[in-house]
Each structure stands twice: as C-alpha cells, then as structure tokens.
C-alpha cells in the first residue's frame, strides 16, 4: 500500500524561487560608465557604434516619411531599439548567421544586406528576399517566433560541420509567448548548439503590454526553464548589449547557448499600417523612455571623452539622407515582378501544371 506523505513545511522548500536579476548595464542614463563592465573597444569602434545608431535613427525617420507617402509597403519603425539592434550585430563576425524578425532590418543591413533591398522587401518585391551570396542572413520573418526554432537548425549545421560560427535570432516580448520560443531554446540546450537568442523587450506587442503577455517577472527567466544561460541587459545601453552578445557568442562557440533579454522601448507605432499607439499606451510613460533613449545616453558618454561632436552628427545625418535617397531610387528603378517569374521560383524545375498556367497567362495576358 502506498504511503501518503503528510503535507507540510517541506513543500515550501520544494518551491522554485526565481532569483532576482539585475539588468546588465555599462552606461547609466546620464552617460556615466561602469568601468568594471566596460567592453574592450577602440575609440574608432566607439565612434562607429554612434555613427551606426545615428544612421539607423535617420534612416528610420526617412522610412516612416516614405511609408506615409505610400512609397513603402509594410514598415515596422525601429526608434528606441537602436542600441539593442546595433550593439548586438556589432558583436558578430561576418560568418555568423542572423535569423531576423520583421523589425530587424538594421542588423541585416550592417551584416551586408543592401538598404534598397530592404525597401523592396517592404514593398513586397521578391528581390527584397534575394539575399546576396556573401551575406549570412535569412529574410525577415513574418510569423512570430518561426525564426527561433529555425535558429537551432542553423546552429546545428555549423556544429556538425565544425565551423566557428554562431546563429543569432531576434524576437520581441510578444514572440516570447509563442511555443516556438521555448522549443527553440530547449533544442539548443539539449544539442549544445552555438546559438544566441535575443528578445528585444520593447514593452508592446502591437497593443498588448508586456504585463498582459506574461506574469513572469522577466522574459530572461524563461530561458531557465529550458536550462540555458539567461541574461537581462539594459537594451538602451549599446555598450551593455555589445558586451553581453560578445560574451554570449564566445560561449555559444563552446556549445553554450544564451537567451538575452534587452530592455528597450518602441518609441513609434508597431507598423505604418494604421497602428495608433495612443489607443493603448500607458499614459505619460513615453517621456521617461524618450529621455532614456539610447542615442542621448551614448552621445553624452562620447562627448565626455571628446569622441563625438555636433559636426560628426551632422555629417552622419547628411550621409544617411543621401544613402536613403540613393536606395529608394535604386528600388524604384528595379525591374517589376512578373507572373511567369513568380511561377518559375516555386520549384527548382517548374512542374507541368504550373508551366501550363504560365503559358496560358502569357498567351492571354502576358505583355
């Protein structure tokens, strides 16, 4: 006969307590540096980080304007997430492979994906997805979380071939609710894969605040359930993000995957397709985030080191405006898609029934 265990104080001891964690920070909001956490970066590298963040901000502002004029298709603004995006990509090597969500165009760009293709992707042109041969990224993912599970596959390929490269992926706070999110980390843990999983917690999944997304105190702690290393980083602090990803990359190469939650804030709307943040934002929360945004903080730090001037900033602004103008022109001039072309890109060899559909189209409607 089975013994019944008396319930009592023992249960409390068996209750798992989440340990408090403190988001990793290098730069405080007023631009003061925590020397102990400072990553090794040359002055030129520091300046390059700033250049990229300003570039991304200006590009975003231009893209928002283009979207309003109807000159882009789907566009998800990035302002407020520059430190998280730029800092994380800066820690990668060219051979590392990025699996992005739809907002992660800046990381793709700095990994080699041309801006004009980003614009074509936004418009829904197939060439937007034709990643150049020497660029190690996938197309932006539309299905929330799908890129996470695929990351384990890409990472396993690198491990099997003995290559010193990692797979890195991005999702948001909303994406961390998908089953795919957990499954990906669990697989990476079980197979000891060279993978880094980033959650850019920008506080809102379209209209849903993170408080309605989960009652977990942090998203980072979700990695603990899968048994993988999990860290939380101040995502408004480009140096902290860089340092955390650099560290995670090294560990990933040794078979230790990491989940990194970057705490940031989406300053703009979810997308340019009719989203109105005033319908759902918590009142008066935005100004605090605006003051705390990544460019201000890093600019203060660089200025204190005499590494950044207004002149530098203006130069980048002009450089970006010119790059955007050129990219949009190139996108405008790119050849139009055709139905026969669509048909011929479904399979390696177009099967007879599709060939027939193509011929019928060409006979009756093709120009």
């Amino acid at each position: 006969m089975a013994k019944t265990t008396k319930r009592g104080g023992g249960l409390a001891g068996a209750e798992l307590q989440t340990q408090e964690m403190q988001a990793f920070q290098v730069l405080s909001p007023d631009g003061k540096v925590n020397e102990a956490n400072l990553p090794e970066l040359s002055d030129d590298q520091l300046r390059e980080l700033m250049r990229r963040m300003v570039y991304t901000r200006v590009w975003d502002q231009r893209a928002v304007g283009l979207a309003r004029q109807g000159r882009l298709g789907f566009y998800a603004p990035v302002s407020g997430q520059e430190a998280s995006m730029i800092g994380s990509q800066f820690a990668l090597e060219k051979e590392d492979f990025i699996l992005p969500g739809y907002r992660d165009i800046p990381q793709l760009h700095f990994h080699g994906y041309p801006m004009y293709q980003g614009f074509l992707w936004s418009r829904g042109h197939q060439h937007g997805g034709q990643i150049p041969e020497d660029v190690n990224v996938l197309m932006p993912q539309i299905i929330i979380g799908a890129q996470y599970v695929q990351t384990s596959g890409v990472a396993m390929a690198f491990k099997r071939r003995g290559e010193k490269r990692i797979a890195i992926t991005y999702t948001g706070d909303g994406g961390s609710s998908q089953g795919d999110f957990y499954e990906a980390m669990n697989f990476a843990g079980v197979f000891k894969l060279p993978a880094v999983f980033i959650v850019q917690n920008n506080r809102y999944a379209i209209s849903t605040p993170v408080s309605k997304q989960t009652v977990a105190k942090t998203i980072a702690q979700k990695g603990l359930a899968a048994g993988i290393r999990s860290v939380q980083v101040d995502g408004m602090d480009v140096l902290a993000v860089y340092a955390a990803v650099k560290d995670a990359r090294e560990r990933a190469l040794n078979g230790e995957p990491t989940l990194i939650e970057t705490l940031c804030y989406r300053l703009g709307p979810h997308s340019m397709s009719g989203d109105d943040p005033t319908r759902y934002r918590i009142k008066d929360e935005s100004p605090a985030y605006e003051e705390n945004e990544p460019l201000i903080r890093f600019r203060k730090y660089l200025e204190s080191k005499n590494l950044w001037t207004e002149e530098d900033e203006n130069k980048v602004i002009e450089e970006t405006k010119a790059a955007v103008a050129e990219a949009i022109k190139k996108a405008d001039q790119y050849e139009k898609m055709t139905i026969p072309n669509l048909i011929d890109t479904v399979y390696e060899t177009t099967p007879a029934h599709l060939e027939q559909q193509k011929q019928e189209y060409l006979a009756k409607e093709g120009k």
Binding site: I142, I206, T208, Y280, T338
Partner: protein, 326 residues
C-alpha cells in the same frame, strides 16, 4: 435598417451575441483595448468587460487551445486569428481538436467554437496576411467554413456561426472590410449556414463564387451581357463547407454551363470540389466542360503583383466566352 461596412456588421453581430448569451466570449491578439487591428471588436471590451473580451498573449496555438477548452465546457468562444497566415500555428486546434471533439467522444462533447480570420488579397498587405486557405479548411471533416461577401450576410452568417453547436471557421475577406457598405438590420437575424444565394439571374452560364470574387464576377457578368450578349447567373456560395448542392445543381440544370471563380491558388480547393459536385449530380445537363478561374499555384505573397495574380474581370469574361462558345 442601418448602412454599414462589413467590419461594422461583424462588430454588430458580436455585440448582439455577447448581449444575448453570457457564454459568448471573444479573445485574440489586440482584440480588447485596441479593438482588433481592423477594429472588428472595437468597443466590445469597454461594453462587456475584460473577462468576456480578452487580449491574449501572442500565441495562436494558445488561442486555439483556449477556444477548444472553453468550448468543451459549454462556452461559445469567438477566437480571432489576427491574419489567415497565422493560423498555421493553431492548426492542431482548428483542424484536429475542435472539429473532432464530437467524433472522438462519440457525441459526448461538442465544440461550438467560431474561429474568425481576415483573408484574401487586394489591399497590398505583406506576405502571410493575404492568403486564401479555405481549401485546407474545407478538407477538414467536422468544421464548417463560411465566407460572406457583403455586410448583410456577414452579420447574419456570423450570428448563425456563433449559435452553431459545431465549430465554424468564419472567413472575412480583407478587401471587403471597408470597401463596400450595405443595408443591415439593427436587430438580430440570421442567414443560414449551408445556403448559397443566387445574386444575379441568368440563362446562359452560371458563375459560382464567394467572398470578394462575387463582386468581380458581377462586374464580369455585366460586361458579358453588354459585349457578348450573354446572360450570366452568379451564385454566391456563402458557405464553402458544406456546399449547397441543391442550389448548385438547380442552377446548372437551368444554364447548362458553369464557371467557378476563386481567388485562391488553383489546386485542390473550392473550385475542384464544386466541379466534382456538378459532375456527380448534373453532368448530363452540361453543354460545356466546367471552367475554373483562379489564382496561380504560387503563394500570394507579393503585394506589388497581386492585382495581376488575383482573377480580374478580363479573365472571367474570357472564361465566359470560352464556355459559351464551346
């Protein structure tokens, strides 16, 4: 009567359902405070509270499972899938768990869930926001598939779907949400599931269609009457599963010629099923093979080319001419 858009008619149906039946609940991504990305649930959380109109975490599989569980407990959940391309994450609930609940329990349980999702192209939405996946759904035993083409039918059919004791997938064509207005009674009424509607009488050929293609087909019928002197009958299927065999057969027996128009890719969907129904029931009434006008067997994922991809009046008029001159 009031004049309203289709999205307003859908909103109105859900408001009435929430009002009349305490077991009706609505949930999905951004449906609460934000009122849905197309405002289909606008104002419903404010009126009926957060316990009945809920924002869920971002997890379609979770939304599907929640609906199945509530349904088995006697609630009437209306689960919104934000876009049709997101249902793949929830297919276990939509294609297996909900539709098989009655069957697996030998009738002990049922699952009166209504899944709603916008689908279809023509508004330049990004990939996986504009697909037509009804072929997948109609192949699933145990779930009914409904697709209105106008505000009146949308409200009446949605109220029927919510009341139905079996699961229903309610497909809302994106292009129709705001593009046309119609007269809609303010009170409760229903349009029966499983009944097609002859929206244009004709004698020379019948077009069977649904969703946004009803409107393209109506325009093509007018062109054919003017340019080809052909009287085209147009049948709005309204329910894609189960099909209204009687209306389909009667029309073919009258016109002796048929065309099926669907926006979806060509292979294995509503069109081939409809042609099978005609073959089985009215083959000897036909004076010409049944023709189908469809999208191509590629994904519809590229807004820049969707106007060429989606069947247009020219393609339909060509088909009318071919079938009539056979």
């Amino acid at each position: 009567m009031a004049t309203m858009t289709m999205v307003k008619a859908i909103n109105d149906a859900m408001r009435i359902a929430l009002q009349n039946d305490p077991n009706v609940m609505i949930f999905g991504e951004d449906v609460g405070k934000n009122g849905g990305v197309f405002r289909a649930t606008d104002g419903l959380q404010a009126k009926f509270g957060v316990d009945r109109v809920m924002d869920t975490p971002l997890a379609e599989s979770g939304i599907g499972g929640l609906a199945v569980g509530l349904g088995v407990q006697g609630f009437r959940p209306i689960a919104e899938m934000q876009f049709i391309g997101f249902i793949f994450e929830a297919l276990d609930s939509i294609m297996v768990q909900a539709p098989r609940m009655r069957f697996r329990s030998g009738g002990r349980y049922n699952n009166p869930v209504t899944f709603r999702a916008p689908f279809g192209g023509g508004v330049k939405s990004p990939e996986l926001h504009s697909d037509s996946l009804e072929g997948l759904l109609i192949q699933t035993p145990g779930i009914k598939v409904v697709c209105p083409s106008n505000p009146y039918d949308a409200k009446g059919l949605l109220l029927s779907s919510i009341k139905d004791n079996d699961p229903v997938f309610f497909l809302e064509h994106l292009k129709l949400y705001f593009s046309l207005k119609g007269e809609v009674p303010e009170d409760e009424y229903t349009v029966p599931i499983g009944k097609a509607n002859v929206v244009r009488e004709g004698t020379d050929v019948t077009i069977f269609t649904y969703g946004a293609m009803v409107h393209t087909s109506m325009k093509a019928a007018e062109i054919a009457e003017k340019d080809l002197n052909k009287k085209v009958e147009v049948v709005d299927l309204r329910t894609l599963s189960p099909l209204d065999v009687q209306t389909i057969v009667s029309s073919v027996e009258k016109t002796h010629r048929a065309i099926v128009v669907q926006e979806a890719q060509r292979t294995a969907g509503v069109a081939p099923e409809l042609i099978s129904v005609i073959n089985e029931n009215a083959l000897l009434s036909l004076d010409a093979p049944v023709k189908r006008v469809t999208g191509f067997d590629t994904p519809l994922g590229h807004p820049l080319i969707e106007d060429e991809w989606i069947p247009n009046t020219k393609r339909i008029v060509n088909a009318i001419e071919e079938v009539c001159n056979f």
